[in-house]
Amino acid sequence: MLALVFASVALAGAADMPCFRWENFTTANGLPDNHVFNVAVDGKKVWAATENGLGLYENGQWKVYRPADGLAHRAVLFVAPDPRTGDVWIATMGGLSRFSAGRFDTYTQLTSGLANDVVYGVSVEGDFIWVATAAGGSRLNTRTGQWSLYNERNTPMYEIWTYAVNATPTKVYYAVWGGGVLEYDVKTERWKDYNDPDGETEIVLYKDQGLIHEVTTSVSYVEKDKILWVATYAGASRYDGRNWKNFLEKDSGLPSNFLNQVKAVDGKRAWFSTDKGLAYYDGENWAVYRPALDTHKPEMLVRDAAGKVTPVATETAPSHNYVLGVDFDGEDLWVATAHGLSHGVRVK
């Protein structure tokens, strides 16, 4: 208690960083599987993409969907609710599923124009469904049923393993695993790629001169601020259309350079899912939420702009250090981890 009081008084940065009470879900309390690849908040519903089924948390209850219910595959990698229609698009290891009021429709590489059945990501923008697959990008026009495929033959994509996609009204970004970032301009219908200027996998020769690394895992574009955030397996990047700002464990508050996802709040703030905890950046200060790496006790660390790291007392933490994804629920958070799903209830 004394430590908490001390931390609150001594640290302006820490005082401003969000604190949470973490409630964790595992198979013991209804989650379909403890390996949670991603999570999506959909109004009062929460969708959990797990290794063994799609979980829906609603009114305090879990409902589980598996292939017997019509889901394309039991391994669910990503979920994208469509706020306009209420439908949910589901990326799986065996195709793309659309869940609409209890009905699953599935698209595979054999039954439809989808490029490949290994679907890592999906993003909904208007009538278009943008899909990231192991064989390039795919786009479904839901009005006409037309599929458009994007690969090395019609984009500057030298590696076709697309790992994530983020579509907005003006830009669409693909995280290409091993191929940097691909940008589609909706107005001009042109593609552009962003790559690591030093081309090195282990070292950074030209920091802040381009994308931090080629192995990208996630993209998050803030349209109102025109800021692109990128997560890679060797750090994070922020791009304002002119300048790159890169973040590494050694010179930022990132707990690790190994990032599974970045989710932007706005052009200044973002959440990072790493293999060593969940991190938040408010533009100056950093916070990390996790079970401590050594003791596994709940831990919250705040790093201020000067680089000073201060612990903040907390009695709860996300269910595991290996964080794969996060989504916002008002001021609350939902966090997908390698061992359970966590609900971060914001504490004032």
């Binding site: 306009r84 229609t85 209420g86 439908d87 659309r98 609409s100 009021a101 209890g102 009905r103 429709d105 590489q109 054999l110 039954t111 439809s112 124009g113 490029a115 490949n116 009538d127 064989a135 839901t142 009005r143 006409t144 037309q146 599929w147 458009s148 495929l149 690969n151 033959r153 019609n154």
Partner: protein
Amino acid sequence: MRRGAWLLAAGSMALMAMATEPRAARYPSPVELTISPDGLRLYALCEGTDEVAVYDLGSGKIIRRVPVGRVPKGMALSPDAKRLYVTNSWSDTVSELDTASLAVVRTLPTGFEPNAVIANGDFLFVANRISNDVSVIDLATGLEKKRLLAGRGASYLAASPDGSRIFCTHIYPKIGKFRAQPESEITVIDASCQMVVDRYRLPSAAGVFHVTLSPDGKLGMAAQIRPKNLVPLAHVEHGWVIGNSISVFGEDVGEVVQVPIDELDRYYTPPFAIAIAPDKSVAYVSTTGSDSVTVIDIGRLVKFLRSLGPVERRTLANDLSASANYVVARIPVGSGPKGMALSANGKRLYVANRTGDTISVVDTAARRVVNELSLGGPSTLTAERRGERLFFQAAFAFHGHFGCASCHLEATFDGMSWDLEPDGFGKDYVDNRLLEDVGDTGPFKWNGSNPNLETECGPRTEKYFYRSESYDGEQLEDLVSFIKSIPLRPNRYRAATGELTAAQERGKAIFERTRRKNGTPIAVQDQCGYCHSGPHYTNQKLFDVGTGKATDRSPLIDVPQLTNIALTAPYLHDGSARSLEEIWTVFNPNDTHGVTNDLQKDELNDLIEYLKTL
């Protein structure tokens, strides 16, 4: 006269004859009716003449014919009755009529083939039959706000009395697994958030037509057919072809239950429109092929349903004796009854007789037609029109069981694979095909066993389908004339200018290619355009393309026409390919059905984009 000059003269005479020949007669073909809330006007939607005929109900006279878009299919009044909205199914628009001036004031874009419309607050909900969705149109801007995923062939809509829910039904079943039971659904939309919130499953139901709610909102009814396509078509006398029923749902009855309207020795097919009396005492069901309206006592129906256990409810639709518990009358009306409208006091029921071009006025107390309003149109019937009446009639089959239109729903197809007994039980499964543009594509049936439509529709139908004396010679000629005259609907994937998109152009090049990607030549008979040639994309010959099944008697397949191929899944002769993609991703492992295995996935997509334009 030299030979050339003679030919020229003959040609000129032929052209003159064509020029002086009267334009093909257009029959009004009323499909839907709506009465104004004040009871003074009756609106009759005429799909044959592309107009709304407006009756003054006091005089029974038409006071105005308002031209709308092409092939209008549905209409609805705004809640204040100041606007009438009409779906123009071939124009992909909704016409907005000012009911005071009876003029079209706006034309609003929709999805592909809008069939029904509901005006709900500031929005229109439009069921689009080809795009399988419901358009939500903002009436302030006239723009489509979004589309909601419906079932296949979204065609009819109804709103709950409080306007909170919209119900959508579908003319075609879902595309399911090969040789699986058909299934349809009632799509339930929350009108306030404009999202689909439920889907009532309708197992074994295929063509589902009108849906309606009782005035208190506690009872919903949807007209439907239940095809028995998995068993051989050999038991007409046992009712094992098509069942005609109503899906009943809502607070009064609990979960959806399918209720038969047939009798043990008589069928009433297909049920199309439903009107529920204001006092909820009875429901009226028009049965297009039987030229009648079935009257259901709702009190008796609900009581009967409440007496059933869960298993009995599930199997009720196949119990042809059940209708005696709630069907209280069959009212003969005109030819081809479709849409209906009840007067506000429930004393008069108006029935649109599509192929009769009349409106039957039924005294609901006496349960008989007391007047008939004419929609005009040609005074004589052409061979095509006589054939059209035959096509939609079920009178020729044993016990009036079914007619051509029972499978070729509204002269199209039903999206299902059938086991037709003349081939032998479990042999030669056949995918039902679209009838548009078939006239010049003989031989017929996928194995080419019927050299012409007269054989296909005449003795074959009489012996194997109807199991009773069928059409005489003149009738058969008329029927074939009608089938040959079925117009080809606009292709939604081809620009009006005929210009192809980049993907379609690439696909066209693949369709027309003569070499593989590695440069080796493709044998002429293996090129797409060899078999799929000519105006209908068929050379009308038989080939073995490796898609035959063990159940087929012959591997030879009559090359199918490709016009509007995008609409008619499933594919292949037996309906085993659920999508155009599967024709090549699943059923062409050895390049025997065209050379496609050297194509990348995006190239196959391009080919399909081109095929959809044909």
